[in-house]
Amino acid sequence: MTRDELQEKIVVILVDEFEFENPGFTDNLRDDHGFDSIDAIELLAKIEEILGFQISRKEKEKAMSIRTINDILDYIETIQAAHKS
C-alpha cells in the first residue's frame, strides 16, 4: 500500500470514527483534535485491520508518542517494513 493510499484511509478513519474536523497532516493530534491514548489504542486496532496483521505490544507502546498524521503514516510504514523483513 502506498503512502497516499494509507493517508486517504487514515484520514477517513479519523473523520468517521474519531470525530475529526478538517484534519491537517501536521496538526497536533492531542491539542487540535483531542486525540489521546485511548483513541490511539482504538486507532491501532483499525491499523491492524488495514495491514492484515497484529502489531506487537512493543510497537503499540511506540504509537503512544505519535503527535501528527504524518507521524501515523511514518509509524505504519515502519511497522510494515519491519513485518516484511
Binding site: 491514548s37 485511548i38 505490544r57 507502546e61 503512544m64
Partner: protein, 264 residues
Amino acid sequence: MAGNNPKAGFVDRLSDFVVTLICWVYFIFAFLFFFSFFYIAAFLFCKDRERAFQYIDHLFLKGFLWLLRVLAPRHKWEIDSEICTISGSIIVCNHLSYLDPLIFISLWSRQKTIVKTKFFHVPVFGWFIKVSGYLPSTTEGVHAKRMIEQVESMGEFLENGGNLFVFPEGTRNPDGDLGDFYKGVFKIGRMYRCPIHVLHLCNTDKLFTPGTFFFNTRVHNRIRMKIIGCTRSATGKERASAKELEKEVLQIFESHSGYEKKAC
C-alpha cells in the same frame, strides 16, 4: 449545642477520633492478619489474579463500610438496590469524598476504575491497584503498556459482567455544580458500545469531608446513591460518538440536578 458547650464539643471530637482510629485499626489489622493471606494465595495460585484481587478488595472494603455504618449511626445510608445488579457497564458518578471509590468497590465484586497515575507509584497501594487491573489516567513511561493492556481487555471484562466506574470530573467536587468531564470514559464507551449508567451520590463529604483527617460522626446525615439514567445511544447498532455520549451523560446529570439538590 456542642458549639456552646465545651464538654459536649470535646465528647463529639473524641467520638470522631475513636471512630477514625477504629477504622484505621480495621484497615491495618484486618489486612495484615486476615486479608493478606487471601491476597498472597490469590497472587500465588490464581490463574486470574486480577479477578481474585478485585474480589478480595470488594470483601475488604465491604467490611470497612459495614464497620463505618455501625460506628457512625447518625449517617443513614440509602443505596438504590438496583445499583448492585448493574453488570457489564460503565458507571459514571459525581465525586464528593475519598470514600466514594471505596463505596463503589464494595458494591461489585468485579470492578475497575481509572486512577491518577501518581498513585501507581505509591508503595504497596500502587502494587495492589496494578494487580487489581486499574487503569492509569496517563500513559507516560511504563504506564503506556498498562494502559494498552487494560483498554484492550476492557471489552472482555465488560462482557463477563465487570463494571468500569469512573468519576468523569477527575477529582472531588463537593460544590454540587458539575465540572468539566474527562473524555476517556466516553471513548471507552464508544469503543465497546456498552451502556453507561449515570449515578448520583450525595453527602459522603459530610461523613468524610475533604481536607480533614477524621470522620465526622456528629452530624445527622443521609448518604444517598441512586441511578439517575442510562445512555441509550451506545447500546444500539449505530456507533455513538464520544461527544454524543458525553452530551447524553451531561443532560442526565443536569436534568436531575435541581431535584437532587433538594433531595440531598
